[in-house]
Symmetry: C2
Subunit: 268 residues, 2 copies
Amino acid sequence: MAKKHLAAVVLAILLALAAGATGMRASEIDDGMPLIHMLRPLLHSGGDLGRRGRVPCDSWRFAVETNTLRDWDTVPARCEKYVGNYMLGGHYRSDSRAVANEAIAYAEGLNLTGQGKEVWVFDVDETTLSNLPYYAKHGFGVEPYNWSTFGAYVKEANAPVLPETQRLYKRLQALGIKPVILTGRREDKREATANNLAAAGYTGYLKLLLKPQNVKVSSIEFKSGERKKLQDAGYVIVGNIGDQWTDLLGEPEGGRTFKLPDPMYYIG
Amino acid sequence: MAKKHLAAVVLAILLALAAGATGMRASEIDDGMPLIHMLRPLLHSGGDLGRRGRVPCDSWRFAVETNTLRDWDTVPARCEKYVGNYMLGGHYRSDSRAVANEAIAYAEGLNLTGQGKEVWVFDVDETTLSNLPYYAKHGFGVEPYNWSTFGAYVKEANAPVLPETQRLYKRLQALGIKPVILTGRREDKREATANNLAAAGYTGYLKLLLKPQNVKVSSIEFKSGERKKLQDAGYVIVGNIGDQWTDLLGEPEGGRTFKLPDPMYYIG
């Protein structure tokens, strides 16, 4: 018990330090939101920014999040600490909160027909579930994507919830909007994904749609194709949330799109 | 001469202070880029963030820049100082630089036909030209849009250049890609806009396209319609840059889109 208490005190101090490093006040991150993943906060923010052509890691992130930078393989090595600090220091969570708040406000303002045909599309990775425990051990996106180690992590079905998305999910259900889960994970991950979603508290969704096992199709083609099928089946996609632009773009996009942050990887 | 020197020293000190406030090093903003607009940097970053439902101004900006937050009228009053500091403290410029760098890298990698049919679409406000002198006097977007005072400012034809966009513009011309200026400003501003562009150093563009005077059309409809006409006339739109998502979205979008920062206003 004493050990646990000490750990909590140490964590609080580290979070306060991280908050200082990002220019945030401790009160902004100690807001009762459960922590996704506890790790030593990384206090630096990307050195080596002075060279010609290079931009601060925060501006690199701007270009990533606005779909200006595309098809990038890995986070620049100089930005590992910046991204780590962003992900663990409260900033990621408050950006996610801004998105969830807006999505809920939009949903609450909808004029629903009550016919039960309204659906909302959710992505999985970095949207309903967080792979931060994995990426924290793999350089926050600095290491090249490893199909085999990430696949093994997914099979563990132990990824934590992204609490802001879950808040949206439950609010939508209360409003009568049915969640549809649409992921680029392939069919061989269906059981692990369903188990992980259930363990994280996502229940009552209409469909769980995964990519067919051996079909070569881009994320944007697969996802817009599945949305088209939903629409053709009479569903009305009132909203669509994901961390990748390829989750969101491509007709039909649904009534509104909601872009969650993800400075760790790019999916084309 | 001595007076000028003193002013330069004072400016350097203020910039260093602003850099400290944003967590940036002075070396990152003192990189020889000309200043758009000199004003006392605002050092605070939006108080009153602790209330339920509210997010830090930086997260509000994330939602704005990712097209999650739409149809907003004004910057939240609590974020005036944050936005002012962002716009004047080096952050806006380095975000713009990240976008211009990526656009130039993309353009340099294109396989051009040499037939002179490749064009690049540029927006005007907060893209080729900066209205920061106006917005700095009007609360950085906190004050409601004033058609009459902003119209008078545009007629002055005195808006400074956004240097990062100009660097891209000149590089594209050197590569043989022709700029097309496409703006939501109406035809009655044609002369002022042409004069302002010329004074700011934008010469040799293929077309200057403005909105017809009395037609009610959304920005996205007008701009995608004009891009369609360019395409139908045999031009190949290899790139498209603007500060609003309504500059960029809507078929045809062109080969790539480049989103410049703008936390001051929204155009639907």
